[in-house]
Symmetry: D2
Subunit: 394 residues, 4 copies
């Protein structure tokens, strides 16, 4: 291996971490734990792992937690851990969406940093309240919009920011999937059931679940702010209560003298797509394309020159990617590494809080603002679609 990765392991005492949700069998809880472990910045020491006391206790035992720090509720955990000498410094919230707000509140108000799964909340009202709380708290609020942790997404953002693409004119986002092509929610498939249930997921179906990811990524890379959108939402599967496909046209705020445009397509009924997240950005001087399923590649075309394949940590890949990479070019990093980067960026910010020093300006992670933007995006999509695609300001 010619070039070494640059992401380093922890060189500070590990951050004491608690977890709300994530008991046995919860997929996303396991992902958060791997992400927290990967770079060794965190140690899981406490948990309110399930709303079922029995399951909470069993899960804690399986994860090797000290039984005295396995709690029956997140509130109990927040109260007691805040008083412990070596209580948790941060908490990961990986519950269903509608619990996010209340759980986050308990920890934020006690100065415990919150790392929260997306989407931010299940309602826009909760999202606004959470934003206010996060702003008032001394603690950090980190949202795991994990795709922004991929090194080549960082590279893309850096190239746009440094002007390599000129003024941005177009942002094309898509996130097609196929797993809801048929009605699997009626027969009780768990993942499908809650995602198609408005009481659990909120107003957006595909828009909330995956459209927000594509939207977040498009804004993250392009550096643009959405001004208004026109949307056409559908539920193609008979009886489905939330959108399973959305077409969105977008207009961004003027920047560099250009009012950029874009489209977003998200779908859960497009056979042949697993997690087909893709973002393409075009400016006056060049274009970029990134595909989540092949995340170590970034296609870059300086206008009038041959297309170039930039690889993670390879030639043409710069420091923004290198600082969140672990292994040399040609050895792929994937979804878990990108997710871990959010945790490790959070750790760097937490270390700075601990020591009272400034955070390295390169540290980047999604915040409550990104979460609220996602909620506003879903709301605007739903409103626009109800009004037959009228343009709605966000």
């Amino acid at each position: 291996m010619a070039i070494e990765g640059s992401a380093s392991e922890s060189r500070q005492p590990r951050i004491r971490l608690g977890m709300v949700g994530g008991g046995s069998g919860a997929f996303i809880g396991a992902v958060h734990r791997i992400a927290a472990r990967l770079d060794d910045h965190y140690e899981l020491v406490a948990g309110a792992l399930s709303s079922s006391p029995e399951k909470a206790e069993q899960s804690a035992r399986e994860l090797g937690l000290d039984p005295s720090r396995s709690y029956g509720s997140f509130k109990e955990m927040a109260i007691r851990e805040a008083k412990l000498k070596n209580g948790i410094e941060a908490v990961a919230i990986v519950t269903p969406n509608h619990v996010h707000y209340e759980a986050a509140r308990e920890f934020l108000k006690r100065g415990i940093h919150v790392i929260c799964d997306k989407p931010l909340t299940s309602t826009l009202a909760d999202a606004r309240k959470l934003k206010k709380l996060a702003e008032e708290s001394d603690a950090l609020f980190v949202l795991t919009h994990n795709y922004t942790g991929y090194p080549m997404v960082r590279q893309a953002r850096e190239m746009v920011a440094s002007g390599e693409l000129g003024a941005i004119r177009l942002v094309q986002m898509e996130y097609p999937q196929d797993w809801l092509t048929e009605d699997i929610e009626s027969s009780g498939q768990k993942q499908a059931a809650w995602r198609t249930d408005p009481t659990k997921s909120g107003a957006g179906g595909s828009t909330g679940d995956i459209g927000t990811h594509a939207y977040n990524l498009g804004c993250f890379v392009s550096g643009l702010e959405l001004e208004e959108l026109s949307a056409d939402l559908d539920s193609f599967v008979p009886g489905r209560r939330l959108d399973d496909n959305a077409h969105v046209m977008m207009r961004f705020r003027e920047k560099d003298g250009v009012r950029a445009k874009g489209t977003l397509w998200c779908s859960q009924v497009a056979p042949g797509h697993e997690n087909g997240l893709k973002v393409r950005v075009y400016g006056t001087k060049g274009g970029l394309e990134w595909v989540q399923a092949d995340p170590n590649y970034l296609w870059y075309t300086p206008f009038g020159e041959p297309k170039r394949l930039i690889t993670r940590n390879g030639a043409g890949s710069g420091p923004a990617a290198a600082r969140v990479s672990r292994v040399p070019s040609g050895h792929p990093e994937g979804y878990l590494e990108g997710f871990a980067n959010i945790y490790s960026e959070a750790a760097r910010a937490i270390y700075a809080r601990r020591s009272g020093t400034a955070v390295d300006p390169a540290v980047t992670y999604p915040t409550v603002d990104d979460g609220l933007k996602g909620m506003l995006f879903v709301d605007a999509c739903v409103q626009s679609s109800k009004r037959n695609g009228a343009w709605v300001k966000v």
Copy 2:
């Protein structure tokens, strides 16, 4: 080579062909001549190759035409050739758009088959008149919407028609290019100049030039009819008078109990794209993807099974592709072969007319109806965009 191509050479006296336009230096004229020659169904015997008499004469000489059959105007050619014993049976019209209507009229009314470059005309009014003329004439009218000639496009259409994808829900079309990223029309680049000039191109810029191709292809493959659209058109390059980028949301007429949706993106300002025409179709049972730059491949995913790569004349490729292929799988055919297929399909129809027999029902080529649909699409895009994306019926 294991499997032989099945497209055969002419086994009938060649069709006597004239050409309007296509003098020296005209790119598309040369393409039409190659397309006519490829399968040896035509012999070019007459021409009104340029509106400039000198250039017409010189071009005719270069192409080896009998000087007595090089004409100063299409009208003169139509009149005289119609009277000759062995006068032309068909004419290729490859002039700028605004000449199409008048030229076609002269030949159609004399019973001479017309093979006309796209778009149909420069105005919607002309398009409607031409449709009427074509319907009244005994002669055939063939529009060279050439992408429908690609074998794997035929294969895709056949798979949709036979129900392999189930009921179609989504059609995603795009045709990005980058050649107009900068203002090259002002400095006199010929291709750019007329394409950005409303007096020569009509009301649509990118929508007319390439959007119509994507739209035609989406309908051809899916078998759907557009009902209404909402469009957002832009001219990103300052001073440009026609759209160079368009975002379109579409709703198709109900079919198989489903009202399908789709989007279309066409652009001439997307760096990194040469002729990025792509069409994707998704139904209740599967999905398809075809990319013009790699035309010998068709990606097909039966829902719940691994994605399959169907190759032209390879395993999984059927008779609809084979009858318009020439060489075995693994040896690529390209743009000219696809274009030639339109000419050869026209030849099969002309042979049938000659002999008074029925045309093989497999023979497929774009007609005046397709041309009119394209004009209506452009018109609807322009109207919708002027009304801030209001839905417009087509």
Copy 3:
């Protein structure tokens, strides 16, 4: 379309062409005729299309030949056409391999240019005699090693020749197919039957049929000369009499102070490959990769920089490719266009002979020398394999 293709149509009286072989149903005959027609440099006026008089006559009629110029044998054709005032100027020989030598002899000695299908002959002895004849004749001898006609192969060769890759160290060639994975020759599949019959194909099976193509291409692009090889040949299908798979290690003559090496793999028993011809060249300054199935792309990596995708007639593609291209970048050209380029290059050389002028030095086509090299390659493979892979000089 932004950039126009540059390959122009004939601007001289067409070359009068005869054909030996290529009667009804012969695939390769049809390919040669398309190739001859594509750029309109040739007119087929005579033929000895089959060794069966009836089939010859019928084929001539179908192709619209003047019956007086349909001959019962190539010898008769050569004798008579040489005497005609407007007799053929060139002849295409598309018979089985063992007829090549005798047919070519009759035309070469009468000053008629020969365009001959590959391989050169069925035996090495015939190949040496044919080389001698071709050298003594005033007429041209052109071998249709068609892959050298692909524009991006020309581009690759030009880049190597101009030093962009530095001194060449490695040439990796492969040509896997899968059509002979099972014994289809026993059940009479025609293409398989003669290709696996040593009396018709000569000493090489896959080596002769496709290995020679890969070898020719590797040398064409790299500009290197083979010095010696070590080969391991197999007939994996029980009962097959000729090799259906070959592994070859190669050492090239020293050039630029480097003695380059390479490998060649050809196979007819590799499921998943149609015509998987690929060549990769690596030098001290960069690397190239070209794949026949995607011929409009050339991958180029200047050492230490990102990989670049050069497209035919696109950015980074130079005059060597442009002069054998017809359509703009982004519109693919394929196998037939590459084949036609050999015919059109031959036409340029024939025009020069006609006019007594020098041939444009850019004109490039495979000659009898390339044919002999291919025969020597096969012979060396067979000898080496018989001697358990001993190194054999070529």
Copy 4:
């Protein structure tokens, strides 16, 4: 996410792990630690992290080890930890190659499981001794031939083993890199310096460093045993003392009535390749292709059917891949996950030893036998090349 990953977290007390080598700045040490952490089966509790006492101590501090368990030498660590009540159960050896044998010996003879970086040793003699030791020890010996940990490699092996490809005829392996295209060892690049130094790397350069990986993978997937090989090794960079490119022809032992063949190409001087490891396997019924840089994909062609793209945990992917996967299809896993799979497989075997139960037969990891095979492969390559490519039995 529709389908959940199935690799589970530890449900047993973590395995107490020590490490030899891997002090600050050692890339591969960090990789091993991530791999050990990822699934939470191990806890690093002791180390002899560097031969320099100062660096060892500092590294231990940075990693948060108890100072009393940071040792000055591996021997000291082995002796003391073996006596501790909660001493290490396993040790990771990540030193330069020539230390592997002696370090492994100290732990094996004390019943401490060894997880050793590849290659096994620096000399064939040491490799043979180590094999003997490992066989005599009660402890496990695990070699981190990490590529065998990729889920789709497991999938490929499973498909071959279950007969989906029929009898295997061909195995094509390659591992090109470009990082040693120029002489960077002379200027002191550390990774290059030891890899091109025979006293540190042993007799093989590219053959030992990467050729062994390709060879191991080819055998792992195909299930074949190498019988003999013919090799041509080079040092293209002037002054380089070990091979930087190798061409190898192989013959495998007869299986299913077929004596399969193959080739292996490894190179460190092939511009454009980062870690271009690729393996292709062809049998009487189908073919497979896997590429390390895109590890979540497996290309499979059942003979006579379209090529299929099997994705990790997607349709067509079976239990052999699922049991070593963590996230759903469409979310890529990479190099670290594959590496972690070796550690987690080892953990499953260690858990079984702890409890005295049988190991799940699905558990698969590379052993000392694989290590010895790699050493024998390198030795045979060197011997064959010295004898001008003579076939050498292995």
